[in-house]
Amino acid sequence: MTAPKLSVAGLRKVFGGDEQALVALDGAAFDLVENEFATLVGTSGCGKSTLLMIAAGLEEATEGQVLVNGRPIDGPGRDRGMVFQTYTLFPWLTVQRNVEFAMRAEPLGKAERRRVALEHLALVGLEQFADSYPSQLSGGMRQRVAIARALSYRPEILLMDEPFGALDAQTRQLMQELLTRVWEQHRLTVLFVTHDIDEAVFLSDRVLVMTNRPGRIKLDVPIALERPRRFELISSPEFLEYKAQLLVSVREESLKTAGSAV
């Protein structure tokens, strides 16, 4: 059997030391197979973003490791692309140049780089905004460019940290549909983080629920909804069933924090 695409093994993360030590993760573990779309859900502060940052190589684990194709990662790398919640397009570059920036390290000619950038902007429906600056775009459009940028250089794994978290509900729904469509055309392994259960069920092959701090994987739910997925899906009985199951599981964790805080 081949190694899993992404393997998270016995992750423990402690912030600070001594009395102020905060255990964010303790024994978080799971595997993703190639071209799987998995989502981490959990209450805010459960360590899901920390886990993603460790997978990206931007944070170091206290214990445990992350493996890509069976090899432990050593810091960040071009095999893992990242999309953040905050707007991370470089404001001094045009949309097109932002995407081209991601391909700097590729052995491509200038014209070829431009062509690939435009192709990916077309994928998210923004080719006519190639020469605009990020400040001229709406929040949803900026995130679409960020997705185009992350896909343009063909990373093996895409890590997404609440990429639609700052968007309004309507835009968010449209973005989820767009991401599903893009992903169904260009399969790749995705690890997505959100606290929105609807979003998790709609997008994923698999939803992983995390416990409250210290974060571990509490529940692993394969989502057997058929693809391609369309907007109408969110009112189907199967969808609602998954949603209810996950809501109960996450709610248990929320109640624990609420209990300790009140």
């Binding site: 960040p76 991370t88 404001p91 001094w92 390290a105």
Partner: protein, 293 residues
């Protein structure tokens, strides 16, 4: 097909007629209101700025015309002007201005050549910050004027002493401000750079520098103003020429009009350089303009 043109005028009329007359009046009033951070017509901006100078000039002229004090304390604008014309004709003013301009350019460039890279380093590497920031902060609080005697002892009264004084007065402020500018670069930009495979030098050059460039440009603009102060201090103490020297010799002979002239020229030069840097900044960093308003 024929229905559409029929309907169009109707909808158009409805569209115009729908807002009540009161709404239009109210909108007009709101546009005229002066609000916090509110916009202003550029023409009005310039008019107000020109008027402010006119008021200052008028107040000066009035104070002098009413003979509130003797000419020795407050020369009239006319006196200062004719002195200016006189000194411009014999070349004194031009060469003094040029000497000062040359000194400040060199002193400020030396300071920036050190301040910029060091500021970027201590803004990005904590180790560099630990090593450099506390001593810089310490020296920053020592008044640069207090270094005048020792700068003369060390460097004499030649040109290098002027540059050293401008450097002392500018560099230590500049470094800390650039550090602060760089620290404000969103961490996510840097993280994106790392996931794209860039290494530290690439991130500093291609992400940190462009991201903080508009703020750094403002820092340079502000510190250039301070550099002028130290230039004049240096020239007042010991210089064979320059605007500070012009003022100092005038004081010896009670030529208050020349003193005023020197001060005004320094103010005008500062204003001109500041406006020039603003315009250049606006052109080069156009992408940041919408954010800054």
């Amino acid at each position: 097909m024929s229905k559409i043109p029929d309907q169009e005028p109707a909808t158009r009329t409805a569209g115009v007629a729908s807002p009540p007359a009161g709404g239009l009046v109210r909108r007009g009033r709101r546009r005229r209101r002066v609000r916090l951070y509110g916009p202003l017509d550029p023409r009005i901006y310039v008019s107000v700025a020109v008027a402010a100078f006119a008021v200052m000039l008028a107040a000066w002229w009035l104070a002098a015309a009413l003979n509130l004090t003797s000419d020795l304390f407050l020369p009239s604008p006319g006196q200062v002007w004719s002195r200016g014309v006189e000194l411009a004709r014999d070349g004194t003013l031009g060469s003094a201005t040029w000497e000062s301009f040359r000194r400040i350019s060199i002193g400020f460039l030396i300071s920036t050549a050190f301040g910029l890279p060091i500021g970027i380093l201590i803004g990005t590497y904590r180790v560099a910050e630990a090593a450099i920031e506390p001593p810089v902060d310490f020296i920053r609080y020592m008044p640069a004027v207090a270094f005048v005697p020792v700068s003369i002892v060390w460097f004499g009264v030649g040109e290098s002493q002027k540059y050293v004084l401008i450097f002392i007065g500018t560099f230590f402020q500049q470094v800390l401000m650039v550090m602060d500018n760089v620290k404000r670069v969103p961490r996510e930009y840097v993280d994106i750079g790392y996931t794209l495979g860039l290494r530290d030098p690439g991130i500093l050059l291609r992400i940190v520098l462009p991201a903080s460039a508009p703020a750094i440009w403002d820092t340079l603009r502000i510190t250039l103003g301070w550099a002028w102060t130290w230039l004049v201090v240096a020239e007042l103490v010991a210089a064979p020429n320059g605007l500070g020297h012009l003022i100092l010799t005038a004081q010896r002979y009670f030529e208050t009009d020349t003193i005023f002239l020197g001060i005004l020229i320094i103010g005008l030069l500062g204003l001109a350089m500041d406006q020039a840097m603003k315009i250049i900044g606006g052109r080069v960093f156009g992408w940041a303009e919408t954010r800054r308003g």
